[in-house]
């Protein structure tokens, strides 16, 4: 119910309450002051009346004393009689005042008794005094007055003066007390009223705070939240019946709108972000990606699509890069290879030229060989004749060797005879030596002879041995010579056969050489073709090399172009 109160009512309620409190408190204050004032007035009036009465009584008493003195001084009957009447009149004024004072000031009883005593004394002494006066006893009259009346006058005057003073003093005190007590009361009242107002004000404040400010603050905070883009809050105030409820409902609408704006702004921000990514990609940086963690809905789908595009482009470019490198290296290798082929073709060309030249030379050589072969054929026939003669010479040689062998055998026999003679001569010399020794001094010369003969025999034996050795050697040589001459004969026989064969072969070689010459001529023609082919190959290879160099340059350019893209 409180929430349904309008703010105006909520504000009005404490104000009304406050005004009511103020009015009530003012009324109370005024009432209190009036009360205090009337009490004060009464008090003051009593005290001042009492003072006045006391002063009046004092004045009457004083007047009575002065009039009595006047009366005492007068000697004429008519004078003192009139004065005595005046005195009586003054004295008559005192009792009503005294009675009134008695009512007003109970404390003044003693003083009033003194006044009564003075009054009574003067009233009582008046007639005797007058009587004495009448009797012309003036001095007696004065004495009598003095004795009976005057003595009580002074204490009465004093008492009344004191009473008047006391009344004045009491009036003062009353005023002071009254003021003090009034002050006190007013203070308490003011404090109480203040407290009351405080309480009421507090209450009013509480109402305003609780009922208006707090919900306003809440709404303000929520509006602030909303303005900062945070729409994540509830608005319970919207159910209220007051203006805040209306504000809450409006805030809910704002919130709805803000949510829409937020979505729109988020979309814009995300679009800008995606735009940045695309810009970077357009600046060849393919490593950028749209952060998908904070995206939702179609923007996320766009982000995913862009990321896929970037991913694929990245992968493709990386792939192209790799392949381009591969192509570049392959082209470089192929270029080298083709260059080598080109060089090879050229050297092949040179080689073929050399072969061609060599072939021409060998054609000449073949011609020369052919001529030589014919000459050789003739020489072969001559050789056959020579070999025939050689054959005969070998036979003669064999016969000679044969004879040498027989002669050697004869010499060997002779030598054996000589060796036997030498042996026997040696034995003879030994015997001669023995005989010479037996002959003693006479045989001394014969000893010498026998020794010489011995030596001779020995030498003969040695010579015979040497001859034997020589002859044996000669025999062996002759045997070898025989074998050799047999070989020579055999060889000569075979040479004879071979020479005739060679002659035939040389003739066939001459024929072959002629054929060869024809073939070489044909080969020369073929070599010309080969030269043409090699030349064509070299030219083609050279053009391929130039193309390869160009391709390599293209691949390098492509790679550089691809490398301007930043890929991961």
């Amino acid at each position: 119910m409180f929430q349904s109160m309008k703010i105006r009512d909520k504000l009005l309620l404490p104000v009304v309450l406050l005004i009511f409190t103020m009015i009530a408190s003012s009324y109370l204050l005024v009432q209190q002051l009036t009360q205090a004032n009337s009490a004060f007035e009464g008090l003051i009036r009593t005290q001042l009346q009492a003072r006045y009465l006391a002063k009046d009584i004092t004045a009457q008493l004083s007047e009575a004393g002065r009039v009595a003195n006047l009366m005492l001084l007068q000697h004429e009957r008519a004078d003192y009689k009139m004065t005595s009447e005046r005195l009586q009149g003054v004295l008559d004024l005192i009792p009503p005042r005294r009675d009134e004072l008695t009512g007003l000031d109970p404390e003044a009883v003693a003083a009033i008794e003194k006044v009564t005593a003075a009054h009574n004394a003067m009233t009582g002494a008046l007639k005797p005094t007058l009587d004495l006066k009448n009797a012309n006893d003036f001095d007696g009259a004065t004495a009598y007055w003095a004795a009976n009346a005057r003595s009580s006058l002074v204490p009465a005057l004093t008492a009344m003066g004191e009473t008047a003073d006391r009344a004045a003093k009491r009036a003062n005190e009353s005023v002071i007390n009254q003021i003090a007590s009034t002050n006190e009361r007013i203070r308490y009242l003011v404090i109480a009223l203040g407290l009351g107002i405080l309480v009421v004000s507090g209450l009013a404040l509480l109402i305003i705070l609780r009922g208006v400010v707090a919900p306003l603050n809440e709404l303000t905070n929520k509006i602030k939240l909303l303005s900062s883009g945070n729409g994540n809050f509830e608005v319970p105030q919207a159910t209220r019946g007051d203006e805040l409820g209306a504000m809450g409902k409006a805030l809910l609408i704002f919130k709805g709108n803000a949510e829409k704006i937020r979505i729109a702004m988020t979309a814009e921000a995300v679009t800008i972000e995606i735009g940045d990514v695309i810009t970077k990609a357009a600046e060849n940086d393919l490593t950028v990606r749209v952060d998908l963690s904070d995206k939702t809905g179609f923007l996320k789908n766009i982000g995913v699509a862009i990321n896929q595009l970037l991913e694929r482009s990245n992968a493709t470019l990386r792939d192209i890069n790799l392949k381009t490198r591969q192509v570049a290296s392959a082209v470089a290798e192929a270029s080298t290879a083709v260059g080598q082929v080109s060089v090879g073709a050229r050297s092949q060309n040179t080689a073929v030229a050399q072969v061609s030249q060599a072939l021409a030379e060998s054609a000449l050589a073949i011609r020369a060989v052919s001529g030589s072969a014919n000459k050789a054929s003739e020489k072969g026939i001559t050789a056959a004749h020579l070999v025939e003669r050689g054959q005969m010479s070998a036979e003669e040689l064999f016969n000679i060797v044969e004879k040498i062998t027989q002669n050697s055998r004869k010499i060997s026999q002779i030598t054996q005879v000589i060796a036997g003679i030498a042996n026997r001569t040696h034995i003879l010399s030994l015997n001669a030596a023995i005989e010479a020794a037996r002959a003693g001094e006479h045989g001394k010369g014969f000893v010498v002879v026998s020794q010489e003969v011995g030596k001779l025999a020995e030498s003969a034996a040695q010579n015979a041995q040497q001859i034997t050795d020589i002859v044996e050697q000669a025999t062996a040589d002759a045997a070898a010579g025989r074998t050799a001459s047999l070989e020579v004969k055999k060889t000569m026989d075979s040479i004879a056969g071979e020479v005739s064969q060679t002659s035939q072969m040389i003739q066939s070689i001459a024929v072959a050489m002629e054929e060869q010459q024809a073939m070489v001529t044909q080969i020369e023609g073929n070599l010309g073709d080969i030269r043409g082919i090699a030349s064509g190959n070299a030219v083609a290879a050279e053009e391929i090399t130039a193309t390869m160099i160009q391709l390599s340059q293209l691949a390098t350019e492509q790679r550089q172009q691809v490398e301007t893209f930043k890929t991961s």
Binding site: G339, S342, V343, R346, D529, G532, I533, A534, G536, N537, V539, A540, E542, E543, T545, A546, T547, M548, I549, Q550, L551, L554
Partner: protein, 270 residues
């Protein structure tokens, strides 16, 4: 007097300066040309070349020794098929009055004749001009006789139907002559590709295949300049498989399936 390497480098530089040919590509060929000649001879040759006129026999011999005349009829058949099927009909539509074609770097003329054959087969009236640096090759091309030698001869890739364009030469077996009327439609001239083509015609078709590969960067730049100078919007340019233009962007691939067939789009300015 220097080392053989110095002379070789000097000659390569002279060749590059005069003809734009790449020293890197021609080094082997130059080595082969110089052979085993002495350092002194090589240095002397370099000196002589540096002062000799282009027509000097030393230069001519050097050129003949350096150039690679690799060519044959109907070379790069796959590309020529596209030319027959797509390019020639296009050229016919664009140039009803006849077609001018330039075979730049034609060597002994086989490719220039091939273009002439194809245009003849397509029923196009065409003038083909074939140019090459080698005077000997141009002379051979003008002769229009080609030997069917064993190995890599000029006929190695020729389709059988194309034999109708040739006639046998009496007394010379395995040598064939290009039909006279076709020979008359092809003009050959010696031309250094780094210099503008003297023929001021705007070419409708330029075939510069396997030629740019022999040029240095600066040489290629000058060749491209001259090709562009002889071209105009609509011109078709045929390049070899490994070649690409580097210094001009007026030519664009006719289709991405055949990047070596380029054309100058009609709307594109020089």
């Amino acid at each position: 007097m220097g080392t053989p390497q110095d002379a070789l480098t000097r000659i390569a530089c002279l060749v590059e300066a005069r003809y734009g040919l790449s020293p890197a590509v021609l080094e082997q060929r130059l080595c082969g040309y110089l052979g085993r000649s002495s350092a002194h001879d090589q240095a002397q040759l370099a000196d002589q070349l540096s002062v000799a006129h282009e027509d000097h026999p030393l230069w001519q011999a050097l050129i003949e020794g350096l150039l690679v005349h690799e060519t044959y009829f109907y070379r790069h058949m796959d590309q020529l098929d596209v030319v027959t099927q797509e390019v020639l009909p296009l050229l016919r539509r664009q140039n009803p009055g006849g077609i001018s074609a330039w075979c730049a770097g034609c060597a002994t003329g086989e490719e220039a004749y091939t273009l002439a054959f194809m245009m003849r087969d397509a029923g196009l009236s065409a003038r083909v001009i074939g140019t090459d640096l080698s005077a000997r090759s141009i002379a051979s091309a003008r002769l229009g006789s080609f030997g069917q030698t064993p190995g890599l001869n000029s006929f190695r890739a020729m389709p059988a139907v194309a034999w109708s364009k040739f006639s046998a030469i009496p007394g010379r077996p395995a040598v064939w002559s290009v039909a006279a009327d076709i020979r008359a439609s092809v003009e050959f001239m010696v031309h250094n590709l780094v210099l503008p083509l003297p023929d001021a015609r705007r070419m409708n078709l330029i075939s510069c295949r396997n030629t740019l590969i022999y040029f240095s960067a600066e040489g290629q730049r000058r060749v491209e300049e001259n090709i562009v100078a002889s071209s105009g919007p609509g011109t078709i340019l045929l390049l070899g498989p490994a070649e690409r233009l580097r210094y001009t962007n007026v030519f664009e691939p006719l289709s991405y399936s055949h990047p070596q067939i380029l054309h100058w789009p009609e709307h594109k300015a020089r």
